[in-house]
């Protein structure tokens, strides 16, 4: 009897210690996730409110499946695609509101600004929307993860496949700012490396609405492929007007950065036959469909790769916090990097030392209108690009964290 009592007491004490220990490890016993995204501007359809929803879904699923002893909260804000607004908000979150990670961050300039704050204040930064490769090269740091895609993977997917399939001569229509230029540069390198030739390019102001002049220059170049190194409304207007001027189908367009939301807004008639590279397609298998339908029920749109990546990255982060038993940045980052990612979004996912999350990418071709059988049935998956090939190899990395 005496023995049993003592044993119970020891067990109770041990459990209390363990539980207490866990509490002490997670500040305020709450993990707080801050979604910083474009809620109303150019990128709000591909990231924005859908990314906030995806984050909430990840939190709800985590709580239901993992039954953590700590609380999880979400805050969100509109960074309006401005670096100063993004960094002010991130600083306020980290300093005063106990936010543990700032996530999403579409638009490279906002991402780079928040990465600096994250490094300074030792908080995790999870990026899904931004595209530029400097994030994991010159500007990389040990608190940041670039999760969904980047310009290297896009160029490497679309430009490579199109060149290998016989599209040997290229002309670029490039948005005249850092992102467009990076995309043109990465894509030109891939075209040349695969035996193709770049005949020229035209830099158009960003944003532009009338592309007829630029398209006629592309037409006059006689290139087989017109590479669109731009995004959003610039891309959709260029595609629409290319059809109007009879440029397609004689010459083919390659959209170097296109999202499901762009194809949806253009319609299949205007976008059919185009190749593009994506990190996610909702209708790929049962797992992707199941998640996407849950998303659709709330958002009334199918998810883009950014939104699906947002869910996956937040869930991976929360699981790492639970496994590490702490919200300490270094320990969580170590846990995230050592755990492979295999969920509905990422196949063979792994976060490398430069912060790049590598995973399989997909080269898809937009369906013809009569091939589409149901709403949002837009893509043929033509090729799975394995994780190791899709992204810039570590050997070429310019990230100071990478030991050579």
């Amino acid at each position: 009897m005496h023995m049993k009592k003592r044993l119970t007491a020891i067990c109770a004490a041990a459990m209390a210690a363990l539980a207490g220990g866990a509490h002490a490890q997670i500040s305020g016993n709450t993990v707080k996730i801050g979604v910083l995204t474009d809620m109303s501007g150019t990128y709000s359809d591909l990231a924005g409110p859908g990314a906030v929803l995806a984050t909430q879904m990840a939190i709800d699923d985590f709580i239901a499946q993992e039954k953590p002893t700590f609380k999880v909260e979400m805050v969100s804000a509109d960074h309006q695609n401005k670096a100063d607004i993004a960094s002010t908000k991130a600083r306020e979150w980290f300093e005063r509101e106990g936010v543990d990670t700032a996530t999403e961050l579409v638009t490279t300039s906002t991402a780079l600004a928040v990465m600096k704050i994250g490094k300074e204040m030792n908080k995790v930064v999870l990026m899904n929307g931004p595209a530029s490769t400097p994030i994991t090269n010159e500007q990389c740091n040990d608190v940041s993860v670039h999760y969904t895609y980047d310009t290297y993977a896009l160029a490497n997917g679309t430009a490579k496949a199109v060149t290998q399939q016989g599209g040997k001569t290229w002309f670029f229509l490039t948005a005249d700012y850092a992102f467009g230029q990076a995309l043109e540069k990465d894509s030109s390198a891939v075209v040349t490396a695969n035996g193709g030739k770049v005949l020229g390019s035209v830099r158009h102001p960003f944003p532009a609405s009338d592309f007829s002049s630029f398209l006629l220059q592309a037409q006059a170049s006689g290139a087989q492929i017109i590479g669109l190194a731009n995004a959003g409304a610039d891309t959709t207007n260029a595609i629409k007007q290319a059809a109007e001027f009879g440029i397609t189908p004689k010459q083919q367009l390659a959209g170097l950065l296109m999202f499901l939301s762009d194809v949806h807004s253009l319609g299949l008639k205007n976008s059919q036959g185009m190749y593009l590279t994506t990190g996610f397609y909702w209708d790929r298998d049962d797992q992707t469909r199941a998640w996407s339908k849950r998303f659709f029920d709330k958002q009334k749109r199918m998810p883009t790769m950014v939104q699906a990546g947002q869910y996956s990255s937040v869930l991976h982060y929360l699981k790492a916090v639970k496994a590490a038993g702490t919200d300490d940045t270094a320990k969580v980052m170590a846990q995230m990097k050592k755990t492979p990612i295999n969920d509905f979004f990422a196949r063979n996912g792994q976060i490398r030392e430069d912060g790049r999350m590598i995973h399989d990418m997909y080269l898809v071709q937009v369906k013809k209108p009569d091939e589409s059988k149901y709403p949002w049935d837009y893509y043929h998956i033509r090729q799975v690009i394995p994780a190791a090939e899709a992204f810039q190899p570590l050997s070429q990395s310019r990230c100071p964290l990478v030991k050579k």
Binding site: S40, G41, T42, Y43, S44, D45, L46, D176, V202, R203, H204, P205, P207, A208, S209, D210, S212, S213, F214, L216, Q217, A220, G232, A233, T236, N237, K240, Q241, E244, F245, G246, S261, D262, H264, S265, L266, G267, K269, N270, R301
Partner: protein, 294 residues
């Protein structure tokens, strides 16, 4: 053959494209010029009203199956009617105040309209097909000319010159001009001046909506399509001479051409060339090319 190092075919096609864009500028700046010339209101909501014209056409087709030709009439009427309501309920309270109040009010309205459409339809825009009758194009030898673009030039010029004729050559136009010069006397002659002013604002807004319907098959119909264009159109109005009807039409076409040529010779500057010209014109002729010296 080459012109300044550019193949002549490309040169010719760029001139034509410039003319097409210029006809958009002309019709939009005409609406602004009328509203400014006769009401002294700087209508910053013009871009949003152009966008609403395009959306009315899209909604009419997508939800009610109403075709392009009906929309070309329907959108200006609906959006123009909204303009009439705005003029009666808000703008008419501001005529005694400085221009700035009208500008601020219409700017605020533009932001509200954009916000509402963004909330309802998202940012990526909607696709509107070219009407069946105007699909395809003709080979002009130096370029492939979409029939629809040709139609845009014809329609825009017809509406512009019709409007010019109405204001400068008809009795109604004479009342309008007189009513803005000296409302008391015109009122004393038994003419309802406030009604004339309301009609004028409604008409200016309807012109914006008409341009919106013309634009719908060319650009993605999106909440931001107006705000991208409005600043350029304002520059056109300033260059032409605030309030000058003929000035806005001619400068609209002319600047379209200049912009088109800039796109060939130095594309990076094509977004700013209009403002460059505006600065020079303001320095040399502050009242604008066609404006009456103040």
């Amino acid at each position: 053959m080459e012109i300044f190092g550019v193949p002549s075919a490309l040169f010719g096609s760029q001139l034509l494209i410039g003319l097409i864009n210029g006809s958009f500028y002309a019709i939009l700046s005409l609406g602004l010029a009328i509203i400014f010339g006769l009401l002294n209101i700087i209508n910053f909501a013009h871009g949003a009203q152009y966008m609403m014209g395009a959306f009315v056409a899209w909604i009419a087709l997508a939800k009610f199956g109403v075709n392009y030709w009906v929309a070309l009439l329907l959108a200006p009427i609906l959006v123009g009617a909204l303009g009439v309501v705005l003029e009666r309920t808000m703008l008419s309270k501001l005529y005694k105040l400085d221009h700035l109040y009208g500008l601020l009010l219409t700017f605020g309205l533009a932001l509200i309209f954009e916000g509402v459409f963004r909330d309802q339809f998202g940012i990526s825009g909607q696709s509107y097909e070219v009407p069946e009758l105007l699909q395809g194009g003709v080979n002009l030898g130096f370029m492939f000319m979409p029939i629809y673009r040709g139609w845009v030039v014809v329609a825009a010029l017809a509406v512009c010159f019709g409007t010019w004729f109405m204001i400068e050559k008809t009795k109604l136009g004479a009342y309008l001009r007189a009513g803005t010069e000296n409302p008391q006397i015109v009122q004393a002659l038994g003419i309802n001046v406030p009604l004339l002013i309301t009609f004028t604002y409604g008409y200016g807004v309807a012109l914006a909506a008409f341009a919106g319907v013309l634009a719908a098959p060319i650009y993605q119909v999106s909440p931001q399509m107006g705000s991208n264009l409005i600043i350029v159109v304002f520059a056109v109005v300033v260059i032409g001479g605030m309030g000058s009807i003929m000035g806005s039409i001619v400068t609209g076409l002319g600047l379209g051409l200049v912009e088109g040529l800039t796109r060939v010779f130095y594309p990076e500057a094509s977004a700013v060339v209009v403002f460059f010209i505006m600065v020079i014109v303001l320095l040399v002729r502050p009242a604008g090319l066609f404006g009456r010296a103040v």
